[in-house]
Symmetry: D2
């Protein structure tokens, strides 16, 4: 894979956006690798992801920002520029269940996730061995006083320059204050197909209701529990034979896949969010 730059754009829809951006990039020798766009016609919005090879590109980061800013102002764009070579720092929060953590660490090891993982935080000691096996610093912070714990967590995140927090079955609700520090940069996995069975013990509720399909949902965390923009969902068939324990077990296979996909797409800059929803460029 070549070194590339990725531009994500969000602006009011109007004629000429694609022509303007692609001509701009072409004038600096960009070789476009991938481009995708989306319009919300009801809201009159335009979204774009465009990725180009940096090999012949004649602008460095500062140069790009200087040259692109007037254009972005003209089109009232919200935009962000990222580089495939960058490895943003990701912190993983975990409680006792380790299946999602293990999945993330394995995928990171084999190169599926473009990030560094400088920190695993847990309110239990259990995941320490696994963290050490994968060579990731592990911090056990018991939650006695939630406000204090969150302050300690935020300090750790800041020290490690963390830009994405992944809740890999972290069984604590984060305060709105904490969430406000990482807007659209905390990804959680909930063990149901939201909006069904939000809140506690979704597998028990699913068993009780007698559903024939169970699901899992990864989403950005917002102030309101289980209400953030959905990134990915997947489901599995179940039957009357499945007891709650079976749902829990089968659900593990869903949770890890659904969370890992979300983390990967975030790191590949494939996600835009607006109006409480996500656009996933593929």
């Amino acid at each position: 894979m070549p070194d590339s730059a990725i531009l994500l754009i969000h602006c009011p829809d109007r004629k000429g956006i694609v022509a303007t951006i692609s001509s701009f990039l072409y004038s600096f020798e960009a070789n476009i690798l991938h481009a995708d766009q989306h319009q919300d016609r009801d809201l009159g919005l335009f979204f774009m992801r465009i990725e180009w090879d940096l090999k012949d590109f004649s602008l460095d980061d500062a140069g790009f920002r200087a040259a692109f800013t007037p254009l972005a102002l003209e089109f009232e764009m919200r935009w962000e520029l990222a580089y495939s070579a960058a490895r943003p720092a990701v912190a993983i929060f975990v409680s006792r269940y380790q299946h999602c953590l293990l999945d993330l660490l394995y995928r990171h090891q084999v190169g599926e996730l473009r990030c560094s993982i400088p920190l695993i935080v847990s309110n239990h000691a259990d995941a320490g061995d696994l963290a050490r096996f994968y060579g990731i610093p592990f911090r056990h912070l018991a939650v006695e006083n939630k406000a204090e714990t969150e302050r300690a967590q935020l300090t750790l995140l800041a020290e490690h320059g963390v830009s994405l927090v992944v809740l890999a079955r972290y069984m604590q609700v984060l305060s709105p204050e904490f969430v406000a520090h990482y807007p659209q940069r905390i990804i959680n996995v909930h063990h149901s197909f939201l909006p069904a069975f939000s809140g506690a013990r979704p597998y028990h509720a699913a068993y009780q209701r007698g559903v024939k399909v169970i699901g899992a949902t990864s989403h950005y965390v917002t102030e309101e529990l289980d209400e953030g923009p959905i990134i990915e969902q997947d489901v599995l068939r179940v039957s009357h034979r499945d007891q709650v324990d079976d749902l829990v077990e089968k659900g593990r296979d869903l949770e890890r896949v659904v969370l890992s996909r979300a983390v990967r797409w975030h790191l590949d800059h494939r996600i835009l969010h607006y109006a409480g929803k996500t656009v996933i460029f593929d």
Copy 2:
């Protein structure tokens, strides 16, 4: 397929049920074609479906009932006996959308559904042509006064000896009085994966929430809207590209399959219900 009898049983769990029933059937020369059982260990309940070839079987219907009743009393069974050769009368209720109706009529025509369909009822005239093409009597009953309409519907159902009512996207809520006439004998399809998006306009709600998966649910109708025992569910992936109209269109393929499976399983006597849930013997 041979002519067969099907026995559905529901009783407190205890030792010897299978031995007793299978010995009973064996003593009258039954050749068992299919048997399946289920236990709910929390509630201490036993469920069984057993199907046997009638060829060598030495009891007729009255004989079976006489011989089996003492045994059923001993084990406190709720039971029902059915015959594969029977063709129970099914009425289909429909409004404007005809995809579920068409699917049921086609499956009936090619022999997938073991029933007669003596009656299609609609609050619109639209489906009349389709009914006539498949040679099914069609009754257009506009819903002006709901109580009156329901009385007329109930009269029609009684006249035709209907034992199962299928709501094939019938956009009217039936009154508790109506439902009470057909307990666990009205099947509805709801265009979401319940319990998510119960009530009106589920595709709009799904679009609004930004889900990545849409679903459909078939269920027995009870007094409480969208709360009856779930029979079948299925789902389809969607993306940010799908507008409400796309969800409606894709959903049609789900609805017809999910409803037809439920009707078929009901007619094949594969469904037991208890505690607000279903057991589907396969």
Copy 3:
């Protein structure tokens, strides 16, 4: 949905293609509704689908062709231009099984398929009633002498200006001569997940092999049986309980969906083919 034009492009990959095309369209006041591109980096190929609103667009068809041709020559493009308002003529070939035919006719009736259907051809009389119900001319051409029958078929297709032939479980193999008249314009559905179980009686072969998943495949017809570019595939789980008849029955639900999607994507100009494969723009 607005009246729109769709441009499909296929050319050697090089810098500036997107900039050139989008600037060209912008200069004639096109409001782009949808654009998607794909590169095959191994083969150095570029593919694009771009759709724009015709409302403000200042070129008519002849004007577009005159203005675009120099550009197309410069980039060595193969291209085609289509209009959403056009309703190309589609002929459906069918034998005895009518589930795929019924599905196509229903979807056509409710507006899912942007085409006219001036002709249904069959080597059996069975589908005549269904054709008449949907108001489509039906021609029964028994296949006694294949060469003669194909000549008659080709004459009919020419008379009706047919541009796409859909084989909706048409159980005859078309000759290479026939296929040569409609290159990449004949769509077939095969009742297995190709390349598994190509040829005759795939459900029997799947049953024999004991697979746990069955599938269906829609593809463009080429000279070599079941070897054309795959457009769509889908699968269903099966188990040891499913006899060949059950596979046939379950398979019907796959076949109709897989074929209808292919026809729709073709009519929406979403398919490009190259190197024996398809690109499906979504």
Copy 4:
């Protein structure tokens, strides 16, 4: 979960089998937990899995065998008896790719797999760290002389009393002699939906053919490569955007799930095989 016994039966179909077996078990105070049966009517065969609680059961293993043998002879049964408390020894063979190994070790650790794993064998040293982390003895046996290596492997398996060999992406073909030592006791995962793309490099072949669905298959190993009875299959959608590397990556998620399910079902004594196929009791 209670301590239980599981009886698997395979015999010519005739009347009275279920009655005989269930009466037999009832006479020794068995409380049946689960029973499932299957008939192959074409071949006239009967299959059964029956599981009962050992708590009140009045026969020990020897007693059961003594009492049941006459009955088994009468019905010409092939049968096997197993106990849920047993932990058969499983050896895992692996090459360089570790995703399937990791998945098995994690599931073993959390209790999903009822077995001991006394041995991991590899023709590469790579998996040694992972084996040590999970506390499993690891043997690196480079394959220079295949016959010699297989002799060394067979000695190891015998020493550890191994009753099931799992090929977790072991990239060597076992000789017929090796296979003959573990009939229906070697489980392999192949990275395609067999019978499509058997043999080497299935993802390359799938890419070349342009399929829209990829799969993985777990099966018992027989003398003929990729021809053994299929235990489980699963699939994932792919598109023209997926390069071979993407198929490999997505396929990993399929392979691990498909292999782990097969191992689990084998250990739970849910699998019967006959005529080159499997019955999976659920």
